[in-house]
Amino acid sequence: MARPVALDTGGAAIRCEAVTKSFGKVAAVASITVTLAAGRTTALVGPSGCGKSTILRMIAGLEAPDSGTILLGSDPPKAVARRGGLAMAFQDPSLLPWRDVRANVALGAELARKPADAVDTLIELVGLGGFAGHRPAELSGGMRQRAAIARSLVSAPEILLLDEPFGAVDAMTRSRLNAELPPLWRDRGTTAVLVTHSVEEAVVLSDRVLVLSDRPARIVADIAIDLAPDQRGHDTQAVRALAQDVFSTLELKD
């Protein structure tokens, strides 16, 4: 059998068409229709419990929508998952306690059936260089999250889903990671979706911010972030202005 030509790691567009989801009587997501452009990073912001993780989990194929469809490129999520094209950093780092950091990061490549050559570089990059041989129990919460981020990047996915990846990371490390990590997926053309509680972080990391309403989640604002790479810092004028825009829409719906 002829081998298919190696896929460009470049991402696919994420298309959500009238997607809804409830858990029993709790409506979590109310009819969302949106297309997230291929190769771009989109941030989701919204109040706690509004349904952000649920949206991410549906894109990942972990939950089936009650109605509506989600396509990644032209494929349903599970098909992309099967070919190793998906990766996600969960809100809780979900490392395997019996594996050390290196083996946990390598697991991402292993499960996606991709080469594991980037493992050590990534561990270095997320600042865990000295801890590659440590078990998760020996790490702080922030360190575990960084290991989980490295795991999600190691398979060079087409679609990258980040659910509050820096939630437990200290402010200093966080701003360093905010600067150093995005090029890793942007330069490969990965389509990324990021959930964050920090509006400023959403602006710094993304090309587009979607503001969600209180539960059940609807899109209440859609803000394009057109910033040159050198403008993407936490204390630049441009970022502060855009963050102000996002804030104003967040406050509107209260």
Binding site: L62, V80, A81, R82, M88, S94, L111
Partner: protein
């Protein structure tokens, strides 16, 4: 420090034992440590060969039984819909006393070590199955999500995540399995083997050789406990820790109606009968000794046969229930008392855990020596068999009384009794009933073993007799009857459990 204190206690116990022997000079009851040691040394060659033989059969059965357990547990975890049926069948098979299956296996296998190995396997598979069921599910959803993100399914999750997560639980299962395998192998030897500790034990008992009986009891108990300890030690070394879990058949869910449970029970009964028939036919087993369900029904249609069976069964049940209740009540009672004194509790727990590992087969001959071949002896054997597991389980249950509630009671300086009554005992109830459930097969095994070894009455003896006179219709009827008794026994325990929990710990029923 702790080790030196244990050594001290051991020395004190040995001296007291020796003194008792001297005081009861010439009695047929007790042999002292020095006499036992003498016997062990004088017969070192014979005993070593017998131990090796029994250990070999036990190890083979241990391997097969645990392999079967792992396969069953994996199946149930990957196809959860099968759980209820698989669990019920596994429990039923486990509840058939080894003494009952032994003679059947002997005619199926003929001479050799087939029955010993099979009985050892039957003695271990169920507890390992339970332990693995807990272990394979001790997996957080985020790990299964992680597997799903990479498109990996149930089998991949089973192999990469669940199998590894279950290892500490497997260690617990294997630990309990080690003495059980030894017990199975020895019972297999009772059913007509030529070599092994079981054969020697039987011979020593029948010849009223006190020293030999004691020496064999010490040897088999010691070997079984050493295996228990070695597995725990190795597991602890390899994994860093071993969790505390209670192994028990799951409680029937309360939410289901009585009718639904009845239908399910009937379905399982039909399935058992069908499996029985199909297995006999599939292997084309000789109708002379491999009886089918139909044969048993025809046989029991004759009133005389029925009466013989029911009379023996009645005796057995009358002997079982007092021992069962006594073992449970004493185990739970001692646990409740011990928890009032934490230092005493800490000292007792390891001893109870260790004694739990002593196979009943090792101590039964001694208890017969001490308490006679009648009602008392049998009752004590049943009670002892149940006592230690219950004590351990209840102590574990009592420790789980949520710390905060206990603190709160401390704050209001409630009395210890009040605390015991209103917090600790409700906390202990689930553990108590878990042991009550697991005590059902244990009691049936103990009572049939005692009957077979010593008392000369009841269904244990009926089976031994029918096996030697080739009355295979009666033998299979006895086994079927014991299966029904076990099922009824379980149902009764479940009924009591639901009533008690509804009254004293309703939150447990939710």
């Amino acid at each position: 420090m702790v080790a030196s204190r244990s050594v001290l206690w051991l020395a004190v116990a040995l001296i007291a034992w020796e003194a008792l022997d001297r005081a009861l000079h010439d009695s047929v009851l007790v042999a002292g440590p020095i006499a036992i040691l003498g016997h062990l040394m004088d017969n070192a060659g014979l005993l070593a060969r017998a131990t090796a033989e029994t250990a070999r059969n036990a190890v083979l059965g241990f391997l097969w039984g645990n392999l079967a357990a792992a396969a069953l547990a994996a199946l149930v975890v990957v196809v959860p819909r099968l759980e209820r049926v698989v669990s019920a069948l596994a429990l039923l098979l486990f509840s058939l006393p080894l003494i009952a299956t032994g003679p059947i296996l002997r005619v199926l296998f003929g001479p050799g070590n087939g029955p010993q190995v099979t009985l050892a396997a039957l003695a271990v598979y169920y507890t390992t199955f339970l332990a693995l069921l807990v272990g394979l599910r001790a997996v957080s959803q985020s790990w299964t999500d992680l597997m799903a993100i990479y498109g990996r399914g149930r089998w991949s999750t089973l192999l990469r995540i669940r199998a590894r997560a279950s290892l500490p639980y497997l260690v617990i299962g294997l630990q309990i399995a080690a003495p059980a395998a030894f017990l199975g192998a020895m019972i297999g030897e009772f059913t007509g083997a030529e070599r092994g500790l079981g054969v020697l034990t039987l011979r020593a008992m029948r010849g009223l050789e006190t020293e030999a009986t004691w020496a064999l009891a010490v040897l088999s108990a010691g070997t079984a406990m050493a295996a228990y300890g070695a597995i725990g030690w190795l597991g602890g070394r390899a994994l860093g820790y071993v969790p505390v879990i209670l192994l028990s058949a799951s409680r029937p869910r309360a939410s289901r109606s009585f009718a639904a449970r009845l239908i399910e029970a009937a379905g399982i009964a039909l399935l058992v009968v069908a499996l029985w028939q199909v297995a006999m036919d599939a292997f084309d087993l000789n109708r002379f000794f491999a009886k089918r369900p139909g044969d048993v029904l025809t046989f029991l249609a004759t009133p005389a046969n029925r009466q013989t069976l029911l009379a023996a069964l009645g005796e057995t049940i009358a002997f079982t229930i007092p021992g069962y209740v006594a073992g449970l009540v004493m185990g739970a009672g001692l646990a409740a008392l011990l928890v009032l004194s934490p230092p005493l509790e800490r000292a007792t727990m390891p001893i109870a855990v260790a004694l739990r590992a002593v196979p009943i087969i090792a101590t039964a001959p001694l208890l017969v020596l001490a308490f006679g071949r009648g009602f008392t002896g049998t009752m004590v054997i049943v009670a002892v068999m149940i006592f230690f597991p219950t004590l351990v389980a209840c102590l574990q249950g009592l420790r789980q009384a949520p710390g905060q509630i206990v603190d709160l009671f401390g704050l209001y300086s409630a009395s210890r009794w009040h605390l015991l009554r209103s917090v600790r005992i409700p906390a202990m109830l689930p553990a108590f009933f878990a042991s009550a459930r697991m005590a059902v097969p244990a009691a049936l095994l103990a009572v049939t073993t005692a009957e077979w070894l010593a008392t000369g009455r009841g269904i244990g003896v009926l089976m031994a007799m029918t096996a030697s006179t080739s009355d295979y219709n009666m033998l299979w009827s006895c086994v079927a009857a014991l299966g029904l008794v076990a099922a009824a026994f379980f149902a009764a325990v479940a009924l009591v459990e639901r009533a008690v929990l509804a009254r004293y710990a309703p939150e447990q029923l939710a």
